[in-house]
């Protein structure tokens, strides 16, 4: 993933390594740094753990992207194999003409296969021993088996079988599995509604020609001897589809780059036939492009989630090194006193940091690949629940060398740079204060240089904020004003106490982060993941700063508990005293907890909103239509309105509205030059217009939604798109606006039609997978409007309204059995909507699980901090024990301290998460259709809080026990 980042990351990595190598040439620095590393192996391991997790999460995100990319590419291997280009003709005459014109390509050295076949859709049934199994959407092919075996040679064609003869058939593994049959058994195919019995002569893998079909779908195929299908079609007065497959030279992926050249050569050979509908399709190139985009989108979603974990990891590193410096303060002071320059202090820490970063890079890479593998398998399972049956993606775990290098170098560089920046601050330690363990001298007046810098930076960020806010650019709209507020702190500190200046800046950042989207409602329209990262950080950091500055006010309610003259009261006093005294350390731990918990709660709340809106969504997506039926275009139901509501279905089906469909490619009016989108033109009839689906928006010139439906039904120039038109699976962006113009292109002829968007349908689930050939974005228009597009139009679907109390499951089974010869597939629309929600929920849960790794960083950090705190406070603990603190009081104090920090962090994150989701719920267009009261997932949030606090408590049990076991005489270091 992200090969464009590779040179930058490798460059930064090389600079870091060279710098470390240079520093290692200084014997004093080398000795100081390396002895610190080896002095306490357990602590070295704990320090490295933080950056290990950071590196692991980066690499895991990249591996998820790699794997999705590879899984989609696998379709190219499984389904297309050697097939690079296809030309599909609807008439035998045109098909023969295409084959004749393309025959010249056989001599082209760039082409290693040319094959013309006949195909159509049919239903296949097996009835034996009381068992009936059916596949309503099998693809049947007629071809020359010898030619098929040679197609794409020397690479395998995927269909190397003997001709089955006039009564035989070769089927692929998908169809065999679907029917539960093997070679030697008999299958009945309904070819153009007429039964045709054939004995299976062979079962071939669903790869290459063995899995080929429509687009990139995985197909259930049957192959017949020459003459079988064409004769059945002729008997029914129909023409099968003629398809010419072309294989470019080379194996599956090697051949793809030749696509543009071969396509041009084919179009040249086809001449006028292209305009007559015999267009060249490039399915393999389309699949490979789709793979790249799908991998990038999913990878970026996980990287977005991972980035919060990485931020937590960076904070852990900062915290650990600040603590290390605190522990070695006296040592550092003495070293500085005897002549160690500031840059040498930085150098010593840099070497130490490089050692930790190196451990992190190596171990993190291994852990990251493991996490990636786990996430991939879970993600694929969830993604596949969107896709019915055979169109599921095969899980292909894949790690590219680019991702490994990117992950390892990014992890190293982040850890190294964090340590170097932290050590610059450490190196500024006042020598006397360090040696005598005193507070550094307080500068009562801000230095003039800092004030000037503050003025310049504030002015610059304010200036940068203006265009960012004006254009509603997501990330910078949050970032620049926040940075302006932070930059103004030194300036404000000249006018008021520092605490007041920090409070003002924190309030400004928090307020802006919460309310920016009410001022600029289009802020999320660019669908950038960076917007969410900046928003989360701004909210969490500002809230943590406010809490840290005003702990004394917040702790007033527990003052009575702290003042109690009991061991519990004394434990509580200690538990609060240390975190409030160590503001930086506590603040960074709070930030870790709150930033991760904020996002977890945000996801929980979004799920709660969606779940609360399922019933409403079903109504919105179905408008009371309960079932969709799809049947074979080659064996259509002649009059679905009267047939499907009659006979045994008379009392069950109240109303039927036929639907016509046509596949096309559409553009995205929000994107200047984006890739074409696969769309399906859905032509509806009067009944649907009279009882329509809910619209999110419609042309402002129209008085109401019904007027919009009337307009689209009566005027072919207008269409509806759905709210998710063009969505690729990342964060929701701006929807297509009514009034936009969409260009629809016939993929076969290239003919273009412009249509005006009259409105946006809230939920188009009722039309998903309506062609049975994978996902296409539905575009709704009148049935007559579909005819005007010039695409292949099929009357092959209908929506059914059922009587109250009808068992939908029984009805769909019964419909499929009755119309088996028509290849009818019935879909329960409520179940389809609920399945979409369920899959979305699972995906959110997966991301929550991924985020839990960030929480693990926070909890680990708390454990590391408490381990170091035991060492740091050894003497104080000894004194307290000498004064009369019981061992159990010390233990309780440590446990209570970690609880105090965890509770504060979790509460900040939870409150911000609930408030942010509420603001999104109130203001974001994505929730516009949710006409429900704002729900709060108390139970789920409660469980998350409980688990986090228990885990935090467990992380502190060890250090607390160690603290309680400290012997006072040893700790106070009274030595003779």
């Amino acid at each position: 993933m992200y090969p464009e980042l590779l040179p930058w990351l490798v460059g930064l990595f090389t600079v870091s390594v060279l710098l470390t190598a240079f520093l290692l040439t200084r014997p004093v620095l080398r000795r100081l740094a390396m002895r610190q590393v080896v002095r306490r192996p357990t602590e070295t391991a704990l320090v490295a753990l933080g950056s290990v997790l950071g590196t692991a999460l980066i690499l895991a995100s990249l591996v998820v992207g790699d794997s999705l990319d590879r899984s989609v590419r696998q379709i190219a291997y499984d389904v297309l194999g050697p097939v690079d280009e296809t030309v599909r003709s609807l008439s035998l005459e045109q098909g023969a003409d295409v084959a004749r014109r393309l025959a010249s390509l056989a001599d082209d050295p760039r082409v290693d296969g040319l094959l013309t076949v006949y195909g159509d859709q049919a239903s296949a049934v097996v009835e034996s021993g009381g068992r009936t199994a059916a596949e309503p959407r099998a693809l049947v092919w007629e071809l020359d088996f010898a030619e098929a075996a040679e197609f794409g040679a020397p690479h395998p064609s995927g269909l190397d079988a003997e001709d089955p003869g006039a009564d035989g058939v070769v089927i692929n593994e998908n169809l065999a599995e679907s029917l539960g049959v093997e070679a030697g058994e008999q299958v009945t195919f309904y070819l153009y509604e007429q039964p045709f019995d054939a004995v299976i002569s062979a079962v071939v893998p669903a790869e290459g020609l063995g899995g080929v079909g429509r687009g990139a779908s995985v197909n259930s195929n049957a192959y017949f001897s020459p003459g079988t299908l064409t004769e059945a079609a002729a008997a029914a007065g129909r023409d099968p589809t003629t398809t010419t497959f072309v294989s470019n030279r080379g194996d599956v992926e090697e051949s793809a780059p030749l696509t543009d050249e071969i396509k041009a050569a084919m179009e040249g050979a086809l001449g006028p036939l292209v305009a007559e509908g015999a267009a060249v399709a490039t399915p393999k190139q389309d699949v490979l492009d789709e793979a790249e985009e799908a991998g990038a989108v999913l990878g970026s979603v996980f990287l977005l989630i991972g980035s919060f974990c990485i931020i937590a990891g960076v904070l852990l590193l900062v915290n650990v090194f600040v603590m290390l410096a605190g522990e070695r303060r006296g040592q550092l002071g003495i070293m500085r006193a005897i002549g160690l320059r500031r840059r040498y202090v930085t150098g010593q820490f840099a070497i130490e940091g490089a050692a930790y970063a190196a451990i992190a890079a190596v171990v993190g890479a291994l852990v990251g690949v493991g996490i990636g593998r786990l996430v991939v398998s879970l993600a694929m399972r969830i993604l596949n629940s969107y896709e019915a049956g055979e169109n599921q993606l095969a899980i292909v775990f894949h790690v590219s060398p680019t991702s490994v290098v990117n992950g390892v170098t990014a992890g190293f560089v982040i850890a190294f740079v964090t340590v170097v920046i932290t050590s610059v601050r450490i190196a500024r330690t006042n020598i006397i204060a360090a040696i005598r363990d005193l507070e550094p001298p307080v500068k009562h007046r801000t230095r003039a240089r800092l004030t000037v810098l503050s003025v310049v930076a504030t002015a610059a960020f304010v200036a940068a904020s203006v265009p960012a806010i004006a254009t509603s650019e997501g990330a910078t709209t949050y970032l620049f004003p926040s940075l302006a507020a932070v930059s103004a702190v030194p300036l404000l500190a000249r006018l008021m106490p520092l605490r007041a200046a920090l409070t003002a800046a924190s309030l400004a950042v928090l307020g802006w982060a919460l309310l920016a989207n009410t001022v600029r409602p289009d802020i999320y329209d660019d669908a950038s993941t960076a917007t969410y990262v900046v928003l989360g950080c701004a909210l969490a950091f500002a809230a943590v700063m406010l809490v840290s500055l005003h702990q004394s006010v917040l702790l007033r309610p527990v003052r009575r508990l702290v003042e109690r003259p009991t061991q519990s009261g004394l434990a509580a006093r200690l538990a609060i005293a240390y975190p409030t005294a160590k503001a930086f350390r506590t603040g960074s731990t709070l930030a870790m907890y709150s930033v991760v918990f904020l996002v977890i709660v945000l996801m929980t709340q979004i799920m709660a909103v969606m779940n609360a809106g399922v019933d409403r969504a079903v109504v919105s997506a179905t408008a009371g239509w309960s079932v969709r039926v799809d049947y074979s275009a080659s064996a259509p139901i002649d009059d679905p309105e009267s047939e499907l509501g009659a006979g045994e279905f008379a009392g069950q089906v109240r109303e039927v509205t036929p639907i016509v469909v046509g596949e096309a490619m559409g553009d995205d009016p929000r994107v200047v030059a984006g890739p074409p989108l696969p769309v399906v033109a859905v032509g509806f009839s009067e009944q649907l217009a009279a009882s329509p689906l809910e619209l999110d928006s419609y042309l402002p010139s129209l008085p109401n939604a019904q007027a919009a439906w009337d307009l689209v039904y009566s005027d072919p120039a207008y269409v509806f798109v759905e709210a998710f038109y063009g969505s690729t699976g990342g964060p929701p962006g701006e929807t297509v606006q009514p009034g936009s113009v969409i260009t629809l292109t016939d993929p076969r002829t290239g003919k273009q039609n412009e249509r005006v968007v009259a409105g946006v349908v809230a939920d188009g689930t009722a039309f998903y997978n309506i062609t049975g050939a994978g996902f296409r974005y539905p575009i709704l228009m009148s049935a007559s409007a579909v005819e005007t597009l010039g695409v292949d139009v099929a009357q092959s679907s209908a929506l059914l309204r059922t009587a109250p109390g009808v068992d939908i499951s029984e009805l769909t089974t019964s419909l499929q059995g009755t119309y088996l010869t028509n290849g009818l597939v019935a879909t329960d629309l409520r179940a389809a909507v609920e399945e979409t929600y369920s899959a979305t929920n699972q995906f959110f849960r997966l991301m929550q699980g991924y985020l839990a790794l960030g929480l693990l960083v926070g909890i680990t950090s708390l454990g590391v901090i408490m381990v170091r705190a035991v060492r740091e406070r050894r003497r104080a603990i000894g004194v307290l024990r000498a004064l009369g603190y019981q061992a159990r009081t010390i233990r309780r104090a440590f446990l209570a301290e970690s609880m105090f920090v965890a509770v504060e962090g979790v509460l900040i994150g939870a409150v911000l998460g609930v408030v942010t989701t509420w603001l999104l719920f109130r203001n974001s267009a994505a929730f516009a259709s949710f006409d429900i009261p704002y729900p709060i997932a108390w139970t789920q949030i409660g469980v998350l809080v409980g688990i986090t606090l228990v885990a935090s408590l467990l992380a502190t049990v060890g250090p607390a026990r160690r603290a309680a076991a400290i012997r006072p005489a040893v700790a106070v270091r009274i030595a003779d």
């Binding site: 363990d437 003259p565 004064l883 603190y885 019981q886 030595a975």
Partner: protein, 243 residues
């Protein structure tokens, strides 16, 4: 006990009695007897100075008699009870109730301010928060730091920190105060101030056991014991030499 020199006799009741106390430090195969069957009695109202060269066992004696450290033989009787027959819980409670400590390195709790440090022993014995704060403030005023009550240790000078430590050691009116080199980290002026304060408190009846290297301080105590190689080699009651 291998003591020599003039033996001190007093009518005061023994506050603490150590009998044949032995303490051994083990490092690897090596054993060092820091205290070797040592006997000593501390009486109420005494100001006892323990002196001796480095490694003679002064601090170990203080740690063992106060119950901060375990012993390997003998017993220490306080109020008629063996300190080391008590559980850790009981011994800790006894320290809170009956002992105060002053350390060379002051050892104030860095996250508490002066008055919070001083009130800790009172809270440990169950004094109500308000009363504890009042008494701690009074004690700080008594040691001359009434104005510095809200300052954290790192905002105080060494002498001020040690006076806070003295206030902390005395605020709960313990039966005995253990002081380990209380002036070791102070300059002469500060050291004099601190010793004057301790003597004044002793004159008011406070029992104090202090470990010191400083001859002048040792001679200014009412009773001086000398240690060598884990043995008490000298125990002398004398008139106090003005500091």
């Amino acid at each position: 006990m291998a003591a020599s020199g003039k033996r001190h006799a007093t009518n005061q009741q023994p506050l603490l009695r150590a009998e044949s106390v032995t303490k051994i430090y083990r490092t690897g195969q090596q054993e060092v007897k820091a205290l070797d069957r040592l006997d000593i009695t501390v009486r109420s109202g005494e100001m006892l100075a323990v002196m001796g060269p480095s490694g003679s066992g002064k601090t170990t004696l203080l740690n063992c008699l106060s119950g901060l450290d375990d012993i390997d033989g003998g017993r220490v009787l306080v109020e008629g009870r063996d300190l080391f027959a008590m559980s850790d819980h009981e011994r800790t409670a006894h320290r809170a109730r009956a002992m105060g400590f002053i350390f060379q390195a002051f050892n104030l709790i860095p996250v508490f301010n002066a008055v919070e440090n001083v009130e800790l022993p009172l809270l440990l014995v169950g004094v109500k928060a308000r009363e504890a704060r009042t008494r701690a403030t009074e004690m700080l005023t008594r040691v001359g730091l009434g104005e510095r009550a809200a300052h954290r240790p790192n905002e105080l000078s060494g002498g001020e920190q040690q006076r806070v430590a003295i206030a902390r050691a005395l605020v709960a009116r313990p039966a005995i105060v253990w002081a380990d080199e209380p002036t070791g980290n102070l300059d002469t002026v500060m050291a004099t101030q601190v010793m004057d304060l301790l003597r004044q408190l002793n004159d008011e009846g406070q029992t104090i056991v202090l470990v010191t290297h400083d001859l002048a301080i040792g001679h200014s105590a009412k009773r001086l014991v000398r240690m060598l190689d884990g043995h008490l080699v000298h125990d002398e009651m004398k008139e106090r030499v003005p500091g």
